[in-house]
Symmetry: C2
């Protein structure tokens, strides 16, 4: 049974992991007979956002690991507890938490830094020749950590985020919502999901392909 | 385009709606070309539970509608704002929130009461001859509201909940996780999902069938 690390960072698109993208990742892994290994930083989220009115809520705090446990139904460990040797592949779902909790790209752009335990994991998995899947805004993490490898990535459309994230060498190309971009040399697969998806069906089509392409490269 | 009401009550299996069941419901509705109409009570959850250690968190409160917006990506309205005339069918995902937020079955058993706005909606949708889908523990809501119609329902296996919920007339039968029970006369479809599912793939199979059977009965 293939084991696939899935990095979460809360529960909700504004302050953590995008829920649909995360659940669809788990669904397609399970359908393919792979075992998801959910991980999230055991630390506070950047903020708590009200997903009904979109506003940050002053004075509230939530822990990324404990909130991610809602998506993972409790089957989640602290980011850093597992290394590249524990998994056959790594998948990074999206959500604003990616650019706020897992790195500070939203605030700092090209000068952003990725959480050290995640940067180390991405580097190790890549160095071991194991495939990585990056969904939605997560290709930014790959660009920040592996920029010098000139990874081929997509954020769906060419936008300001793609411009800023490409400064260190990553190459961004457009991609249809239901499709994926594959960097054969670096063994990295990316799909736009809710960067461009208009509904869950579109996001699902791209994530299904991403999971299949990632798993195929574990063989 | 068929419109299908989806009743949520928070975001997480211990204190609100089961996330996988809710997302899979939205996925299969969207794939079939139907439009989900998410609804949740604009009121406080029964509690806030930590989904990492399973414990209630003292002194914290969360609002069901605002938390459900995480699952619905903001596309959710207050329960009570829509009536049977606004939808072609109604689907009730599961989670402990169903028996704690939407009714007090967990505490009161057979003597439980369903939130009045939800009880009214279930009665109206049923009276209009429109189909209802009940996932996981949600058949309990049908048993409490429509017991005198002798609805045929499932909670997967025959357990204490099924015993207590059948007091007012509902008939519970066993059902495989990937399957559904259909009450043709009452136009009610139910599936066990995470009452018995061991993983998301099993829950998905049953929910896919439930959505298909519900939509077929809207024609």
């Amino acid at each position: 049974m293939k084991r696939v690390g899935v990095v979460l960072c809360g529960c909700g698109r504004f302050d953590g992991s995008e829920i649909h993208e995360s659940v669809l990742t788990l669904l397609h892994l399970q359908r393919a007979g792979a075992r998801p290994l959910c991980m999230a930083p055991d630390a506070e989220q950047w903020a708590v956002c009200d997903h009904f009115d979109g506003k940050p809520r002053e004075g509230e705090t939530r822990n990324m690991l404990h909130e991610a446990a809602r998506i993972a139904r409790g089957d989640v460990v602290a980011l850093g507890a597992l290394g590249a040797g524990d998994m056959d592949a790594l998948i990074l779902p999206g959500g604003t938490g990616v650019t706020r909790n897992l790195c500070d790209f939203k605030e700092k752009g090209a000068g952003a830094r990725v959480r050290p335990e995640l940067a180390a994991l991405i580097r190790e998995v890549h160095a071991a020749g194991k495939p990585i899947g990056a969904i939605c805004i997560s290709p930014v993490l790959i660009a920040l950590v592996l920029g010098e490898k000139k990874p081929l990535l997509t954020l769906g459309k060419m936008n300001r985020s793609a411009e800023k994230a490409s400064v260190h060498g990553a190459r961004f190309v457009p991609c249809a919502t239901e499709s994926v971009v594959v960097d054969e040399e670096n063994r990295i697969v990316s799909t736009p999901a809710y960067v461009t998806a208009r509904h869950i069906g579109e996001a699902d089509a791209g994530i299904a392909r991403l999971v299949a392409e990632v798993l195929r490269r574990t063989e």
